[in-house]
């Protein structure tokens, strides 16, 4: 009995000593600032304020450098590249993506490596400069554990390269990963829109109806009405105009698309 009690006591002592004391968490102000500025930059990018986004990402990168956080620096270069690309400066965007890839390599950050690589490949596709990213085919194979934006970029690249199966799989993964917040709704809308485009182009080739394409498009429109993203809404309305066969309803879609486009132009000129 005494031995049993001793063993029990020893076990308890072992458990108590194995338990690590709680670590005090300290906030690095530079890291917090870099993250805060990156968040603000993403927000500005969403509102199509390219210059503002650029400035915020530059400051975020500066704060990440002061924090000596190479992962954040790599992410900063990628974000900066996105702001440059959105404002039309593709040369600066390319340089920023390459820097993001180099920095990601240094810290073995596979996620940001692939993120920046995909962004570069998408830029090449947009500019029709084939073969600029030699290894870009590997970019389409995204591990399931990677974040949602990497899957979406891979889906878009696969779609542009007419690799429908890969694109469908990646869009599906995006829909699995979306959260119940505004950003999640917009990612889901993008995925539904991509799927609608995929099905529509396949249906056009096979000469079949586009019912499931309409289903995805309506889902995208519904999500966009809830989350609000006029530029993406315009893309969805344009797709609806292209897909609609009834001339009267087609005219309605067209009017709605024109109204959104005009409102967007007016908002930009103000």
């Amino acid at each position: 009995m005494r031995t049993l009690g001793l063993i029990l006591l020893l076990c308890m002592v072992a458990c108590a000593t194995r338990h690590e004391p709680p670590q005090t968490q300290v906030t690095n102000p530079y890291q917090a600032r870099a993250e805060g500025l990156a968040r603000a930059g993403v927000d500005a990018l969403g509102r199509e304020q390219w210059k503002s986004a650029q400035m915020l990402f530059e400051k975020s990168l500066q704060a990440a450098t002061l924090a000596d956080d190479e992962r954040l620096m790599s992410l900063g270069w990628y974000n900066l590249g996105r702001a440059y690309a959105a404002s039309g400066d593709t040369t600066a965007a390319r340089a920023a993506y390459l820097q993001a890839m180099r920095q990601a390599d240094e810290v073995h950050d596979a996620v940001n490596r692939q993120r920046a690589g995909l962004a570069l490949a998408l830029l090449d596709e947009r500019d029709s400069t084939e073969g600029k990213v030699a290894e870009s085919d590997n970019l389409l194979e995204v591990p399931d554990s990677f974040p949602i934006d990497v899957h979406l970029a891979a889906a878009r690249l696969a779609q542009l390269r007419h690799q429908s199966d890969l694109a469908r799989h990646a869009y599906g993964r995006v829909l699995e990963l979306v959260g119940q917040d505004r950003s999640g709704f917009i990612y889901a809308a993008r995925a539904h829109l991509g799927l609608a485009e995929l099905i529509r182009s396949k249906a056009a080739l096979d000469g079949v109806t586009e019912n499931s394409a309409w289903k995805h498009l309506n889902q995208a429109l519904d999500l966009l009405r809830r989350a609000g993203d006029p530029r993406l809404m315009l893309q969805a309305l344009n797709l609806a105009t292209e897909m609609e066969t009834d001339p009267i309803r087609r005219q309605v879609w067209l009017q709605r698309a024109s109204a959104v486009q005009q409102a967007l132009q007016k908002a930009h000129s103000e």
Binding site: G36, L56, D149, R156, G184
Partner: protein, 335 residues
């Protein structure tokens, strides 16, 4: 004394009087010309502003607050461009270098604008006679106020909410303070790393808000925002106190803390927008907004960790997408 001598004397006196008068006039002219630099060596610079409406001939040209010349001529070129000649004293030429610019400066709210020339890059050569300088447009106070109005208006209400939130946090009888005390009491002697971390985060966030509150008080923002404070206080009253829920550990606690997280999410998003707007307008203003946003982010993190902590039930039903630091990929929708 003969009559002839008397006339000669008068003549001499008149002569002296005239001579002295002429001499005085010449001396005055000399002094005046010396003071006005009439005969000083000068050189000309040209500038082509978009409009000549704020310029006039004889307008002072200043450098570092000193008058170094005047506007000499204003003419409209055959192609409709404005060309203004600035006549500057040659002795200041050595101070003006390549890269020098011309701008209109208003010394105060009232009064005429003055033309100011900048020194340029002192490492480069000095300006040649007849050089054309670029004109730098400066936003007028009216323009700046007009541009800032919407951003300031929204900042007004949000900073008001923040002030209220700061007071709410700093109140010793406040919910978060009590919640912290309750957590501390509940976890005394219990080795719960996550809870301890949460307490540390509460303290850090409270400190950040104290700093923010002080900053707002220093800037007189508290008084200025009194009206919006009253309106926004109502919003914060909707956040049901965490204390009781935490004490009771009832299932509603999770729902209420979720409401707090959602409210903080909204505030944080709005602050992001305002900070971006302010950043675009002036470089000085966003500091405060950035501080507020950082504090808000910290609060959101804290509220999130309370929600998912041991006392909050450790569950999180509304899964976030978690992509807020990353710019979304291009989808051929950007112009």
């Amino acid at each position: 004394m003969t009559r002839g001598n008397f006339v000669d004397g008068i003549r001499r006196k008149v002569g002296w009087f005239v001579m002295l008068g002429l001499g005085a006039i010449v001396a005055l002219l000399l002094v005046a010309t010396l003071r006005t630099e009439l005969f000083a060596r000068k050189f000309t610079l040209y500038v082509a502003p978009p409009s000549a409406s704020a310029f006039f001939v004889g307008q002072e040209v200043k450098f570092q607050g000193f008058t170094v010349g005047r506007v000499d001529d204003i003419e409209l070129q055959p192609r409709g461009e404005v060309r203004i000649a600035l006549r500057l004293l040659d002795r200041y030429r050595g101070m003006l270098h390549q890269g020098s610019t011309v701008q209109l400066v208003k010394p105060g709210l009232l009064g005429q604008e003055i033309v100011e020339v900048t020194s340029g890059d002192v490492q480069t050569a000095m300006l040649d006679d007849g050089a054309q300088l670029p004109f730098r447009e400066q936003a007028t106070l009216e323009q700046l106020l007009m541009d800032m109005k919407p951003a300031v208006a929204s900042a007004d209400s949000l900073l008001g909410e923040l002030v209220q939130l700061a007071r709410w946090l700093n109140n010793p009888q406040g919910d978060v303070r009590l919640a912290t005390a309750n957590i501390r009491a509940a976890t005394q002697g219990v080795d719960q790393g996550a809870i301890q971390q949460t307490i540390v985060r509460v303290s850090e966030a409270a400190m950040q808000f104290e700093r923010l509150s002080q900053q707002l008080a220093d800037n007189g923002a508290g008084e200025h925002l009194a009206k919006s404070l009253q309106q926004t206080a109502q919003v914060l009253k909707n956040i049901v106190p965490l204390t009781e829920e935490l004490r009771r550990q009832a299932p509603e606690a999770l729902a209420q803390s979720r409401a707090l997280v959602e409210r903080l999410d909204d505030l944080s998003r709005s602050l992001n927008g305002i900070a971006a707007d302010l950043q675009q307008l002036t470089p000085e203003l966003p500091g405060l907004a950035q501080e507020s946003r950082d504090a808000m982010v910290e609060m959101r993190r804290l509220a999130g960790s309370i929600r998912s902590s041991w006392l909050g039930g450790g569950a999180s039903e509304a899964k976030p997408t978690g992509s807020e630091l990353v710019a979304p990929p291009a989808m051929d929708v950007a112009p």
